[in-house]
Amino acid sequence: MSTVPTVISPDLSGRRAPALGGFNLTALKLEIRRLTRNRRTIIIAIVVPVVFFLLFGTGQAYDTQSAGHGNVSAFVMISLALYGAVLATTFSGAMVSIERSQGWSRQLRLTPLSPVAYIAIKIATALVLGFCSVAAVYIAGIVTHKASMSVGLWIGTGFSVWIGSLLFAAFGLFIGYLLPAENVMQLMGLILGLLSFAGGLFIPVSQYAPTVQDIAKWTPLYGLNQLVHTPMLGNGVDWTWVVNVLAWLIIFVAGAAWRFRLDTARV
């Protein structure tokens, strides 16, 4: 039947699976390099928030007015750091749509990388780029000497914004698995702009018409934006903000998990 003369028995003793399902720092480094290679991503997630801060957080007459435990400039800085971080984490998550459309996700399934480790790499990438966004706006705040609050609040609000933006890493993954399109990034930019307005990142929600305010309170950036400003404003936490964040977190994680399962399902 076959012309193979002898049966060779392969030595499999030295063969093992990688630790952590294949999660490793080389892959993380290359993911971050990919993200930074996309100049548009860097401009939108890091440069634009800094420019907005310089325009609206340092050049206006109201900037040095006090607000809670800080001033208006610090308030604007926190908003725009959140804006940048949310763009950064959403983009990082939405990169999966490009990977799927180029067949890379399928190729990865023929490597030891476990699906969970792959998501972990994506989230770690989102955290790194999100950190860069927050750091860029906060450094602009330090350098311009306009934003004022205690050192503890600088660190506390910065950290809250950074960790809070992970909500949008889940959003990005969900959208990335939902829409297998190359132009998903442009769509994301538009959606996040609208959500930022609705969430009060650019203009306080209290300045909108009552009906608009009612709608805005249900949008996914509203609760998060209120919560990250709370330590500085010292106004106490409204439970509806927490519910807003948790509800959207559940929606995004459930949506991402659902699409992810469909994508990696062995049918």
């Binding site: 039947m1 049966v7 063969r15 294949g22 892959a27 290359l30 390099r33 399928r106 023929l110 030891p112």
Partner: protein
């Protein structure tokens, strides 16, 4: 047919598991049966071609071996493990025809990234030089030609020194020279014990380079053997003669005859022993104008995989 050989074959190598073992594998998509009760056993070091027309179940079978899809019924094992376990140990690699590369990474970064996912691989430098892509290492994948991308895919597949290499239409787009070099390299690997399973549409390629050909049709293995066995199985020869007044019943006992067809005065006998058939026709009947034609593997392929109306309807949706 040697389909069942795989089932009953002995494996003397101290109980070493076969490279691939499919037992009673079926795969249904809705009510379409893409793979039907396939048994297949590959030994280490074999080069096996999987051949069949579109919709024959090649891709479905390969996906099951790679763990990309789950069989509806039956058992699959690769080197005695579940496909996913074998993949996590770097024992299986596959090269797909298109896609599977990130355009925004460089060639070197792609190798680095993939290598980082395995417990143990060759060094990136060795892999690049082994695949002859050192000089394009810093080029973006999106800027590489089709041939360069294909070399990169091979480099990635060989990173973990897999025991089983699965190739989907591996030499599409290669010139004759490239194809010959490619197969020389594959053959060398197989001598070291690597098992190679490739899907192809190039019959000549299966004929020339595979130790064994598995022919699929409508999700079933219709033939399994060496190229010459396959040719002998279906090809035989056709003996054509002029014999007025012949009937199929009258000719059914002809030595060597497989099938007999009468078209007016012309008789077409498909024969596995054309000498005996010809001798009989010329000596025992009044047949004249005798013609004997041999069939190539192409004809064998068509003969073995040709459509039957009854099964083709059920199989239309299968990919």
């Amino acid at each position: 047919m040697t389909v069942t050989d795989a089932k009953t074959g002995n494996w003397p190598a101290g109980g070493a598991p076969p490279a691939v073992e499919l037992t009673g594998i079926s795969k249904n998509f809705g009510h379409v049966q893409a793979v039907r009760n396939v048994d297949l056993r590959l030994r280490s070091g074999e080069i096996v071609a999987i051949l069949g027309p579109n919709g024959a179940g090649k891709t479905s079978t390969i996906d099951i071996i790679l763990g990309l899809s789950q069989p509806s019924s039956g058992r699959v094992s690769v080197l005695g493990m579940q496909p996913r376990q074998a993949i996590s140990r770097g024992l299986i690699s596959a090269v797909m025809q298109t896609g599977g590369l990130l355009r925004d990474l460089t060639v070197r970064e792609t190798v680095e990234y993939t290598a980082s996912l395995f417990a143990r691989t060759q060094t990136v430098k060795e892999v690049l030089s082994g695949a002859g892509i050192t000089e394009i290492a810093d080029r973006r994948v999106g800027k590489c030609s089709g041939g360069e991308q294909q070399r990169l895919r091979f480099a990635l597949a060989l990173l973990s020194d897999p025991e089983l290499l699965v190739l989907d239409e591996p030499t599409t787009g290669m010139d004759v020279e490239g194809r010959r070099n490619f197969w020389a390299a594959i053959r060398k690997d197989a001598e070291q014990g690597r098992t190679v399973l490739f899907a192809t549409h190039y019959l000549e390629e299966a004929d020339a380079y595979a130790d064994r050909i598995v022919l699929l049709r409508h999700g079933r293995i219709v033939a399994d053997g060496t190229a010459s066995e396959i040719k002998a199985m279906a090809a035989g020869r056709t003996v054509r003669a002029t014999l007025p007044g012949a009937s199929e019943a009258m000719l059914s006992g002809i030595p060597g005859a497989d099938t007999v067809e009468v078209r007016g005065d012309t008789v077409l006998v498909h024969s596995t022993d054309s000498d005996a058939t010809a001798r009989y026709l010329l000596t025992s009947t009044s047949a004249k104008d005798l013609e004997i034609t041999a069939r190539g593997i192409e004809d064998a392929f068509i003969a073995l995989t040709g459509d039957d109306a009854d099964v083709s309807a059920a199989n239309k949706g299968a990919i």
